[in-house]
């Protein structure tokens, strides 16, 4: 019976961690943290709303259509940055992520990790450390590499 209770607790903890960003929940409560959360429901509404003006600069309509969640956290507080870096590293090492891109240009660092199901990108984590501003972006959905290429075409550095 004791074993059964232990198994039950493990199941509950595992499923609690699944499907939601504990990382976002933790840091969104910090004072002075810039945060953005767009829920799957909002994305589905965006897809239905034909009144929205689609931008000419970036071909993001296709990307938005396939997105189901967006989390952004950004801060310039050195204490928060150190903690975020540590937690982000733990988050990445705990999951099975594929490195999409790593760019280091002097003080500026950008890391992108993704999770794929066959050819579909289901999760995309972006960690950018530039000009003393540290940002973590998490995107979920069903994106293809073509979607990302299209998105990149519109924006030049």
């Amino acid at each position: 019976m004791k074993k059964l209770i232990l198994v039950a607790l493990t199941c509950l903890l595992t499923v609690s961690a699944f499907g939601q960003s504990r990382f976002y929940k933790k840091f969104s409560g910090y004072e002075g943290m810039t945060k953005v959360y767009i829920s799957p429901s909002m994305f589905s509404l965006m897809g239905d709303d034909m009144q929205l003006d689609l931008t000419d600069d970036v071909n993001i309509a296709g990307v938005i259509k396939n997105m189901s969640g967006l989390y952004v956290l950004s801060t310039s507080n050195p204490g928060y940055i150190a903690e975020m870096k540590k937690d982000f590293s733990d988050l990445i090492s705990a999951g099975e992520f594929e490195v999409l891109m790593e760019v280091e240009d002097g003080e500026e660092k950008v890391f992108m990790y993704m999770q794929k199901q066959e050819d579909i990108i289901t999760d995309l984590y972006i960690c950018a450390d530039e000009n003393s501003e540290f940002s973590v972006i998490y995107m979920s959905g069903k994106l293809t590499s073509e979607d990302l290429k299209e998105m990149m075409k519109g924006v030049k550095q």
């Binding site: 953005v36 767009i38 965006m46 970036v58 950008v110 950018a128």
Partner: protein, 133 residues
């Protein structure tokens, strides 16, 4: 009558074959020893009795665990995180800004790759020139 006849036939058949005198006693002792061992091993491992209530209890526990695991966290996640934007237009603009930023970061990486590629090509050209010389 029949048993006597069989005994006679057997006696005739086995005439001349010597049988040890204590064979019967040894066989009897062996049979007794094996019977005692079997009885002892039966006592050490009593048969498991699975009662009906135990089966029901395990089934009920599994059902409760699965139900809790599937439904509790889902409700919890919806309560705790609230949407940043109330209107779809605001959410769209916010998403657009984030995606533009992500695109610029990706382009930064792609530019670095093409820069490196150009440098490698230049190095290869110089190497070829040195080889010709």
């Amino acid at each position: 009558m029949k048993a006597d006849k069989i005994k006679d036939i057997m006696d005739k058949h086995y005439q001349g074959i010597e049988v040890p005198g204590d064979l019967e006693a040894r066989l009897s002792a062996t049979i007794d020893r094996l019977a005692a061992e079997e009885a002892h091993s039966d006592g050490a491992r009593p048969a498991r009795r699975v009662t009906m209530w135990k089966v029901v209890a395990v089934a009920a526990s599994v059902t409760i665990i699965v139900t809790l695991a599937l439904f509790l966290p889902v409700r919890d996640s919806h309560i705790q995180i609230a949407d940043t934007c109330t209107y779809t237009r605001d959410a769209y603009q916010e998403t657009e800004e984030v995606l533009q930023y992500v695109s610029s970061l990706m382009n930064k990486g792609v530019n670095k790759v093409s820069e490196t590629h150009k440098n490698i090509s230049a190095i290869n050209t110089v190497n070829k020139y040195i080889e010709i010389k």
